[in-house]
Amino acid sequence: MRVLVVVPAFNEEESLPAILAEIRARAPGVDVVVVDDGSSDGTQAAARAAGVPVLALPVNLGVGAALQTGFLYALEEGYDVAVQLDADGQHDPADLPVLLEPLAAGRANLSIGSRYVEGSSLYHAPFLRRVGMMLFSALATAVTGRPLKDTTSGYRAYDRGVMALCRTEFPQDFPDAPLLIQVARAGFVLEEVPVSMRPRTRGQSFYTWTRSLYYPYKTLLASLVLLLRRPPRRIGGAS
């Protein structure tokens, strides 16, 4: 199984070297690509210094489009699985085998590193954020018919079938609940696995307070609109 770790990065020059070194040390068998989402700092240089190829977006497109760029690359280069891993150090590369296991075993097409399932380390989110997460978890669970506790986790593994679907159909701004709903509606199997989330090493949370208002609106709307569309058709991929 050829695995590509996609690291979307927007102005992450400080945290990038550590996480890239960690991936290399903990998961030597996987390839890595950094998607530089139009950073204005030395993100690209930091990745190149670590010997990692860079997909350099000329403008800032947002985390969803950056991830999609990684998928396009993985599809072109013939990878079986793409893993989404944040550049800020929240995701532990040591959890990669746990994340990849459902795909390798052929049980699932998309696996989600979850903070909430049995066995994951404790994760303390602010109260309002927890309420929002519960809302989207309930929505995703209702729509997909599968228990999904952590829709906002950005630590996920995708097989080629899911990536092929994402080539054309992709929620661009926040690839969280809407993405999971869409993938499930296309007939793919999702599975959550327990992982630990670490406090970010550097930089700000993606979820600033203005976004904390816009995010629920946008995500809810995107999720509901998905239900009005006809389910996308699966294109290949393991079952």
Binding site: V35, P53, L55, A56, L57, P58, L61, T69, Y73
Partner: protein
């Protein structure tokens, strides 16, 4: 002709000249100029065919001609805004796709250049 009608006519002519001039300088595409010209034609009709407006107001069941004009003016503006939002969305999607393609091609180019042993800046 009332003063209001003269004013409407002058304004419309000035706007029409402005729009045509923008198209001539390629600052505005013909596609979008059509919307502006249709709107001006509407203003002229409403300004000069007052009998028609009155008739329509009665048929529509409104009390005042002005409210009918404002109502349809607003509807027109709303539709124009939605039209532009749709255009913007498509443009955004296209730009995104192109940016992604440029990132993919750039990485390929870097690799090809490294394989050839050139750095791409030797003035080939």
């Amino acid at each position: 002709m009332t003063r209001a009608q003269v004013l409407a006519a002058l304004l419309t002519v000035a706007l029409a000249i402005g729009v045509v001039e923008l198209v001539r300088r390629r600052r505005l595409s013909e596609e979008y100029s059509l919307l502006a010209l249709v709107a001006m034609a509407g203003v002229l009709i409403v300004a000069f065919w007052t009998r028609g407006v009155t008739m329509f107001t009665h048929w529509f069941g409104a009390l005042y001609e002005t409210s009918v004009i404002f109502f349809f003016g607003l509807v027109f503006v709303m539709m124009a805004l939605v039209f532009y939002a749709v255009k913007l969305t498509r443009l955004t999607q296209e730009v995104r796709r192109l940016a992604q393609e440029s990132a993919l091609l750039r990485l390929r180019l870097e690799r090809a250049e490294r394989r050839d042993g050139t750095d791409g800046e030797d003035g080939r």
